[in-house]
C-alpha cells in the first residue's frame, strides 16, 4: 500500500495530483537505477557481441556463426532460413 502521508489521495486510480513532489533535481534512486540499468544493458551487449556463454546456448545463437556442425545443425539451419 502507498504510504498515505507521502502521497495523499494519489493512488494508481486517483484523479488527484500527488502533492509535495516538485523538488528540483534528479532523485538518488533514479541515478542509481539508471546506472544499474546501463551496466546491465552494456553487459548484455558485450555478451551478444562476444558470444559469451556461447556456442549453441549463447545469446547469439541466431547469428550465422552459431550454426555450426552439431546434433541440431539441421534444425538450426532451417530456423535460420525461416528468419530470412
Amino acid at each position: 500500500m502507498t504510504d498515505p502521508s507521502r502521497y495523499p489521495k494519489s493512488g494508481d486510480d486517483a484523479a488527484v495530483e500527488p502533492a509535495g513532489d516538485s523538488g528540483d533535481g534528479v532523485p538518488r534512486w533514479v541515478k542509481v537505477s539508471a546506472i544499474v540499468a546501463l551496466i546491465v544493458v552494456l553487459m548484455v551487449t558485450v555478451m551478444l557481441l562476444l558470444n559469451v556463454g556461447g556456442g549453441e546456448h549463447g545469446p547469439s545463437r541466431h547469428s550465422q556463426v552459431a550454426y555450426g556442425a552439431g546434433p541440431a545443425s539441421s534444425s538450426a539451419i532451417g530456423h535460420g532460413v525461416q528468419q530470412l
Binding site: 500500500m1 513532489d21 545469446p59 546434433p71 541440431a72
Partner: protein, 188 residues
C-alpha cells in the same frame, strides 16, 4: 485527461490482473526451465521445449502487451501521467524492454521446439537437448517484473522536468482562481 472514477477503477483492475498474470506465467516458465534441466526422462525434456513456444504465444505475449497497454491507459487517464514521474517512466521502460526481449526470444523458443521435435537430435544424451537459456531468461524476467511491482507499490518520489513544468502550469491558474475567489465573495 482524467478518466471517470469507475473507468479508472476498471483500467486499474485490468492493469493489475494482466501484470500479475504475466508475473505468474513467468514463474511457470521458470519451473518449466528447471524441469527441462533436471528431469531424467527424455520425453519430459522434449515435452517441455515443445510446449514452451505455443504457451508463450498464448499466454506470455498477450499478457505482456495487455500489461503494457493497460499501463499506458492507466497513466494517461490519471494525473500521474506517462512522463511526469520517474517511477512511471521506469515502469514504462521496463515493460517495453521485457516485451521486446520476449518477442525476440520467441525465435529461440521456436529453435528449441524444432530440436525437441527432431527425433534424430540428442538420441541418448540429454545434455544435447537441455538448454539453460529459458531458465536464465525466466529469472531475468521475474526480477524485472518484481522490480516493476515494487515501483508500483512504493511509488518513490521524483518528478521529471516535464512533470514539474506541467505541475507549475496547472498550479498558476488554480492560484489565480484562489486569489480571485475571496475577492469575489467579498463583493456585494
Amino acid at each position: 485527461m482524467t478518466m471517470p472514477t469507475r473507468l479508472r477503477k476498471f483500467a486499474l483492475t485490468a492493469h493489475v490482473a494482466s501484470s500479475v498474470g504475466w508475473l505468474g506465467a513467468v514463474v511457470v516458465f521458470l519451473a518449466l526451465g528447471v524441469l527441462a534441466l533436471t528431469s531424467q526422462d527424455a520425453q519430459t525434456v522434449r515435452g517441455v521445449y515443445l510446449v514452451m513456444e505455443p504457451a508463450a504465444w498464448a499466454v506470455l505475449v498477450p499478457l505482456g502487451f495487455a500489461s503494457l497497454l493497460t499501463g499506458i491507459v492507466q497513466s494517461l487517464g490519471t494525473t500521474w501521467g506517462l512522463f511526469r514521474h520517474y517511477w512511471v517512466l521506469f515502469k514504462l521502460g521496463m515493460n517495453l524492454f521485457a516485451t521486446l526481449v520476449l518477442l525476440l526470444y520467441m525465435r529461440t523458443l521456436r529453435f528449441l521446439a524444432d530440436i525437441a521435435a527432431d527425433p534424430t537430435s540428442a538420441g541418448a544424451d540429454l545434455s544435447d537437448l537441455r538448454d539453460p537459456s529459458p531458465l536464465i531468461h525466466s529469472i531475468g524476467a521475474l526480477l524485472l517484473l518484481l522490480a516493476a511491482l515494487t515501483l508500483s507499490v512504493f511509488k518513490p518520489r521524483g518528478m521529471t522536468r516535464y512533470g514539474q513544468r506541467k505541475q507549475r502550469e496547472r498550479g498558476q491558474p488554480q492560484r489565480a482562481a484562489a486569489l480571485v475567489a475571496p475577492a469575489a465573495s467579498d463583493s456585494p
